[in-house]
């Protein structure tokens, strides 16, 4: 019954009429190929179940007696990973939606023509795409592939973690409207995103600002993806984004955990009452701690009693920009573009 197994997805797709070279083969070959894929799916499921079973056994049986600091390093790093993982998945899902499922015209049509206006609107995209800095890197990459310029995507990348409903709610829960911290965070994030976007747009060749990998990933899709239905394209994107983000997440979490274990926090807190040093200390802390913008307000709340409000705002605005775990996956070369411009601003 060759009719029962047409191309792998039933829904009519825009690209369906374009055939992939496999489709020239006869139906039995296709059926066999399908059998192979079912076998892979079963195999992957079995492996995952076996790993979970192994996990359950080792949790009971194994007593590795790891020294406390090392154990805490592992616990802290794992905690960063488990806290970020759902946001990364959300980011990838939204990125897939933007790239594969939402018609291109939707995003481009609502934008003004004037570059400042465009970037201003783009910096508000986060209101509809509530991703923090873990999730916005794949999304920004999706925007570049969708025809956004590099400065526009950078604007999104910096604004989205701050100008999004989740962050606004958590910041409000933590601080209310005290000391104007919430307002300063929102305005500061908006201003920095737009100023950085403008600086990037001054560059004669913005594409060259991208780190090699990011640019390569952005280019990969040009002219490709045909002959793949949307489900397959979505999974391709999942494979690619996770391949970039996951190693970066693990290494970033290990660094964040290690600094937590090694640097005494009271050293940083001692700096809190000095107008200049408190701001610098908060910048360092933002870099070290790297908690998601969605929740960093709760994290910094205990410091509000020792640190000046200005330095708290610094943490809240600066944190999402320099987040250590996603900075490993950042789109720009840190040495040349992002950080040199950032420091020239300071």
């Amino acid at each position: 019954m060759p009719e029962a197994t047409p191309t792998r997805v039933g829904a009519p797709e825009a690209h369906d009429h374009r055939h992939d070279h496999n489709d020239h083969d006869a139906a039995p070959v296709r059926r066999r190929a399908r059998g192979v894929h079912v076998a892979w799916a079963v195999g992957a499921t079995v492996v995952l179940i076996a790993l979970v079973a192994a996990r359950a056994v080792t949790a009971e049986q194994l007593d590795p007696s790891i020294p406390n600091p090392v154990q805490d390093l592992l616990t802290l790093s794992t905690s960063v990973i488990i806290e970020s993982l759902p946001f990364i998945v959300l980011g990838i899902v939204l990125s897939v939606l933007v790239q594969v499922w939402i018609p291109e015209s939707w995003l481009l049509r609502i934008l003004p023509r004037n570059p400042w206006g465009r970037r201003a609107v783009i910096s508000l995209f986060g209101m509809f795409l509530p991703v923090c800095e873990c999730g916005n890197v794949p999304l920004a990459r999706g925007l570049v592939r969708r025809g956004f310029t590099v400065p526009e995507s950078m604007t999104f990348l910096i604004a989205a973690p701050i100008l999004n409903p989740v962050t606004i709610i958590t910041t409000h829960q933590a601080f209310g409207f005290d000391d104007g911290i919430l307002i300063a965070r929102l305005l500061g994030g908006f201003a920095i995103a737009n100023i950085l976007g403008w600086l990037f747009s001054k560059h004669p060749e913005p594409m060259s600002l991208l780190s090699g990998r990011f640019a390569e990933e952005c280019r990969l899709d040009d002219g490709h993806g045909h002959g793949r239905d949307r489900r397959q394209q979505s999974l391709d994107l999942f494979v690619r984004e996770s391949s970039i983000l996951m190693p970066a997440l693990v290494i970033g979490s290990l660094i964040a955990g290690a600094i937590q274990v090694i640097v005494p926090r009271d050293v940083l807190v001692a700096l809190g009452s000095d107008p200049l040093y408190s701001v610098l200390a908060m910048m360092v802390l933002a870099f070290i701690i790297s908690v998601c913008s969605n929740v960093d307000a709760f994290f910094i709340l205990p410091f509000a009693s020792t640190f000046l409000p200005g330095s708290i705002v610094t943490f809240l605005v600066f944190g999402p920009i320099v987040d250590i775990k996603s900075s490993c996956a950042r789109p720009t070369r840190p040495a040349r573009s992002c950080s040199s411009r950032r420091s020239s601003r300071c």
């Binding site: 194994l62 905690s79 993982l85 494979v239």
Partner: protein, 259 residues
């Protein structure tokens, strides 16, 4: 030449699959942690539902990605330089090792190492409110006070009259040595977590019990019942300590952090 192609294939294979493998395994482990009630060792309970939903999506997507036909359009691209391939492989190896650690090493709560590094009771977030509530509390409420309430009260007042008729009942926490007088004072401590273990703040109540370390080594979970009194220790500046009537070693609770 042949060796060249096989290295390229290895690099491409690792490049393509490392993310899916890591995210799939981590999400599966996350689901196991949630099922066995240990997710609270890492994150605040309010994130559990969101985390579980996203982990299910990740597991389904990872399995589907393994099962879907490969695309071959990256094979025509030139291989990057050897050094950047090595860096990529090393990163993937480290990430894989950590992922394996998540499978093998038993989940654990934070220990005294972090409590000492972060300095017990260093922060004071909602002190005034908690203190007002504690002052007005009746005896039944006082008996339910945790390390959080008592540490707040101790920060706010050193007036012994306040503690009159307000004993600590079955106060639960783990043992951390006092920095000033480790011979006779330990802190019965808990971590307070607002989002995830990274922001855990150690809270503690000083307990005066000379020679405690022989009975209850650091990191032991204990339950202490006793009354507050002025500190008999000469080398510690803490004004008020808990003088225990009864101390018993207990198992680590399933929710070791205070949320």
């Amino acid at each position: 030449m042949r060796e060249q192609t096989s290295r390229g294939a290895l690099w491409r294979g690792v490049q393509r699959w490392r993310g899916v493998v890591i995210i799939g395994v981590m999400a599966a482990i996350t689901l196991w942690l949630a099922a066995s009630g240990q997710l609270v060792l890492y994150i605040h309970p309010r994130y559990i539902l969101f985390t579980v939903i996203m982990a299910i999506i990740a597991v389904v997507a990872a399995v589907a990605a393994v099962a879907t036909p490969r695309r071959h359009d990256d094979e025509g691209l030139p291989l990057p330089a050897r050094r950047s391939r090595a860096v990529g492989l090393a990163a993937a190896g480290l990430a894989a090792a950590f992922t394996l650690g998540m499978v093998v090493i038993p989940p654990a709560t934070l220990s005294t190492a972090t409590a000492e590094q972060r300095e017990i009771n260093a922060t004071a977030s909602d002190d005034a409110e908690t203190f007002a509530a504690a002052s007005a509390a009746d005896a039944a409420t006082v008996a339910t006070f945790t390390v959080r309430e008592w540490s707040t009260v101790l920060r706010q007042t050193s007036d012994l009259a306040f503690f009159d008729g307000k004993p600590a009942t079955a106060l639960l926490g783990f043992v951390t040595p006092d920095a000033d007088d480790p011979e006779s004072i330990f802190y019965i401590s808990r971590f307070s977590v607002t989002c995830c273990a990274v922001d855990a703040q150690p809270l503690g109540v000083p307990v005066y019990l000379p020679g405690w370390a022989e009975l209850y080594p650091p990191d032991t979970w204990v339950q202490v019942t006793g009354a507050f009194d002025s500190n008999p220790s000469r080398s510690s500046p803490t004004p008020i300590v808990l003088v225990p009537e009864r101390v018993e070693a207990v198992d680590q609770p399933s929710e070791p952090y205070l949320f």
